[in-house]
C-alpha cells in the first residue's frame, strides 16, 4: 500500500522535475517511479493488511490488480515519447504527474474497503482523465471530448453517490463488509424482502460504476471521448481506467451484494448482452482505427462483465487474466496507432484511419507484427493471450448453472466472430493492402516496449499458467 503514498509523492516530484527545463529526464524518471511503486506493491504479497483505518485493504488479489494497473501505466508512459519533445504547448511534467495520480486513484479503486475510498479513488481517476482528455487545448475534438466526458462523468458520479447514500440508508455502513452484514440484517428484519432503498441503491451504484467501464447503455461517452482524446491518454483510459472500474465493480458486487444477486444480476445479464452486441456491431462500420478501438473496448467490457456475473471463486483469476491480456494488447495497438498515424499525418493532422496502415508491413515489419499479434489477441485467436482470456471467461460462465448464461455465451460467440471482422481490418491493411508507409524510426525504448508486449502476448498465449498460477 506504500505504493499509493509513493506514487503520490512521485507525482509531486514530477511536477518539480518539470521546472528543470529538461524534458528528457521526465520519461525515465516516471518509469523509474512506477517501477519503484511496483516493487513496493509486491511487498504486500501474501499479506492481508488493512490500511488507513480499515479504509483500504491489500491482499493478493489487489496486489495482482495493482500490478496490472501499474504495468499498464508503465507501458503507457513508456510509449508516450515525452509528448513530442518540440511541442511548446505540451506540459509533460504535468501529464506524467497526473498519470501517476490517476494510478493512485485506480489503485484505490481496487483496494477500497470503504465506499468513501471508492468514491475518492474514482474521482481522482476521473478528474485526472477530464484534464488529460482536454490536454490538447487547441484541438476542438479534444475540447469536445473533455467537455462530454466531464459532464457525463460528473453526472454518473452523482448517480453513484445517490446510490451510495441509499445503500447507506439501508445498511448504515460504508464499509463493504459492513454493507454485506447490513444487507443480511435487512433480509432478516424484513423476512427475506428488501426495501426499495437498498434496491435502488444497489442499482444506482452499479450504474455509476458501469458508466466508468462503458457498458451499454452507459457507453455513449466512450467512442467520442476515446476518439477525441490524445491517443496516449485513450490508451490509458481504455486500459487502466477500465481495469480499475471492472475491479471495483467486481469487488463491491461480490463482497457487498452477493446475497442480492438476483437484483443486480438480472439487469446485468441484459447489460452484458447489450454491451457485447452494440460494441461489436458498431465497431464493424468504423473507418477510424482509433474509434474502432473505442468500440472494441466497449465490447471487451462485455466479456469482462461476464466474469463479474459468473460469481465463482475462479472468477478472480479469469478477470485478472482477461484484464491483463486486454491491457497489453490494447496498449500495443495504441503504440502502433500513434506512431503510424503521426507518420502518415496529412496537413498536420494525424491520420487515424485504417488506410493509414496500408502497406505497413513492407518497411516496418516490427510494427506490423506487433499490430497483428495485438489484434489477434483482442480477437481471441489462439497463440495469443486473448484466447485464454476468452477461454477462462467462457469456462466461468459455463460453470454457472443458470441457463441464461448459455445464451450469453452464444451471443458472446457470435460477437467474437463479428469481432474478427474488424480486428482483421488493420492486419489486412498492414499486410495485404497496397500502400507505402515510410520506414518509421523508433526509439530503442519504443522498440523494446513493442517487443515486450508482443512477446508477453504470445507467451501468455502459449503458457497462461505463467500468470494464471499467481492470480
Amino acid at each position: 500500500m506504500n505504493a499509493i503514498i509513493a506514487l503520490s509523492l512521485f507525482g509531486i516530484s514530477n511536477l518539480f522535475l518539470g521546472f528543470l527545463n529538461n524534458r528528457k529526464i521526465l520519461l525515465p524518471a516516471t518509469l523509474v517511479f512506477i517501477l519503484i511503486a511496483l516493487g513496493l506493491n509486491f511487498a504486500d504479497w501474501n499479506h492481508e493488511y488493512y490500511w488507513f483505518n480499515n479504509m483500504l485493504k491489500t491482499n493478493n488479489l489487489s496486489v495482482n490488480f495493482v500490478t496490472i494497473i501499474l504495468l499498464s501505466t508503465f507501458l503507457v508512459v513508456a510509449i508516450s515519447r515525452s509528448f513530442g519533445d518540440d511541442d511548446e504547448h505540451s506540459h509533460p511534467a504535468e501529464y506524467y504527474a497526473i498519470l501517476l495520480f490517476s494510478a493512485v486513484g485506480a489503485i484505490m479503486m481496487v483496494t477500497f474497503e470503504n465506499l468513501i475510498m471508492l468514491f475518492v479513488g474514482l474521482e481522482i481517476l476521473s478528474v485526472s482523465m477530464y484534464v488529460l482528455t482536454g490536454s490538447d487545448k487547441r484541438s476542438l475534438r479534444s475540447n469536445e471530448a473533455a467537455l462530454k466526458y466531464f459532464l457525463m462523468g460528473s453526472f454518473a458520479t452523482g448517480i453513484l453517490l445517490f446510490g451510495v447514500a441509499l445503500v447507506y440508508g439501508a445498511t448504515s455502513s460504508f464499509d463493504i463488509h459492513g454493507i454485506a452484514q447490513g444487507v443480511a440484517k435487512a433480509k432478516e428484519q424484513m423476512g427475506g424482502a428488501y426495501g426499495p432503498l437498498l434496491y435502488s441503491g444497489v442499482i444506482l451504484i452499479m450504474v455509476g460504476l458501469l458508466f466508468k467501464i462503458s457498458a451499454a447503455p452507459f457507453h455513449f461517452w466512450t467512442p467520442d471521448v476515446y476518439d477525441g482524446a490524445p491517443s496516449i491518454f485513450t490508451a490509458f483510459m481504455s486500459t487502466v481506467v477500465k481495469t480499475a472500474g471492472v475491479a471495483a465493480t467486481y469487488r463491491i458486487l461480490s463482497i457487498s451484494f452477493p446475497s442480492v444477486y438476483g437484483l443486480w444480476g438480472n439487469p446485468l445479464v441484459y447489460i452484458v448482452c447489450a454491451t457485447l452486441i452494440i460494441g461489436n456491431i458498431t465497431a464493424v462500420y468504423q473507418q477510424s482505427f482509433k474509434r474502432m478501438l473505442a468500440y472494441s473496448s466497449i465490447s471487451h467490457a462485455g466479456y469482462l462483465l461476464i466474469t463479474v456475473l459468473a460469481k465463482r471463486p475462479e472468477t478472480n483469476s479469469s478477470l485478472l487474466f482477461y484484464s491483463l491480456a486486454y491491457a497489453i494488447a490494447t496498449i500495443t495497438a495504441f503504440a502502433v496507432l500513434m506512431v503510424v498515424s503521426e507518420a502518415q499525418a496529412k496537413n498536420g493532422k494525424a491520420d487515424e484511419s485504417f488506410e493509414a496502415l496500408n502497406g505497413l508491413a513492407n518497411n516496418n515489419p516490427l510494427l506490423a507484427f506487433s499490430l497483428t499479434i495485438s489484434m489477434l489477441s483482442l480477437a481471441g485467436i489462439p497463440l495469443t493471450a486473448g484466447f485464454f482470456g476468452k477461454f477462462f471467461v467462457f469456462s466461468d460462465a459455463f460453470s454457472n448453472p443458470s441457463s441464461l448464461f448459455k445464451w450469453i455465451l452464444v451471443i458472446a460467440i457470435l460477437m467474437s466472430t463479428v469481432g474478427i471482422y474488424y480486428y482483421f481490418k488493420p492486419i489486412i491493411a498492414a499486410y495485404m493492402k497496397k500502400g507505402e508507409v515510410a520506414k518509421i524510426e523508433l526509439s530503442p525504448l519504443y522498440k523494446f516496449i513493442l517487443i515486450l508486449t508482443t512477446t508477453l502476448t504470445i507467451l501468455l498465449g502459449l503458457a497462461p499458467d505463467l500468470v494464471k498460477n499467481i492470480f
Binding site: I116, Y130, K148, G158, G169, D227
Partner: protein
C-alpha cells in the same frame, strides 16, 4: 437546548428521502433540458447536494458520523471537479465562443 441531530430527527426520515430524491430528479431534469454547459454543471452540483442532504439525514437518524464525513469528502471532491470543469468550459469558450453543448457534436458515429 436541543441537539442538532434531534432537530433533524423532528422531520420523519421519509421526508428527507423523498425530498432528496425530488432534488436529485430536478438536477437530472436540469441536465437533460439545458444546453448551457454551466447550467448543466450546476444541475449536477444540485444532484450532489441532494446526496449530501440525504447522507446527513441518514447520518443523524443512525447516529453514525460516517455519513457526515462522506459529505465532507463529496464537497471537497466536488470543488476539485468544479475547478477542472470550469477550466474545460473556459477552454471551449475560448475556442468556439460558446458553451452550448448542443453545438459540440462533431465527434459522433
Amino acid at each position: 437546548m436541543q441537539q442538532i441531530p434531534d432537530v433533524i430527527r423532528e422531520i420523519p426520515l421519509n421526508y428527507y428521502v423523498w425530498f432528496s430524491a425530488a432534488l436529485f430528479c430536478i438536477g437530472i431534469i436540469g441536465v437533460l433540458t439545458r444546453r448551457n454547459a454551466i447550467i448543466i454543471f450546476m444541475s449536477v452540483e444540485l444532484m450532489l447536494n441532494s446526496v449530501n442532504l440525504l447522507l446527513v439525514a441518514f447520518s443523524s437518524y443512525k447516529a453514525d458520523p460516517a455519513g457526515q464525513i462522506f459529505v465532507f469528502f463529496i464537497m471537497a471532491v466536488a470543488a476539485a471537479e468544479v475547478a477542472v470543469g470550469l477550466a474545460i468550459i473556459v477552454m471551449i469558450y475560448r475556442n468556439i465562443q460558446t458553451i452550448d453543448v448542443g453545438l459540440l457534436n462533431k465527434l459522433k458515429w
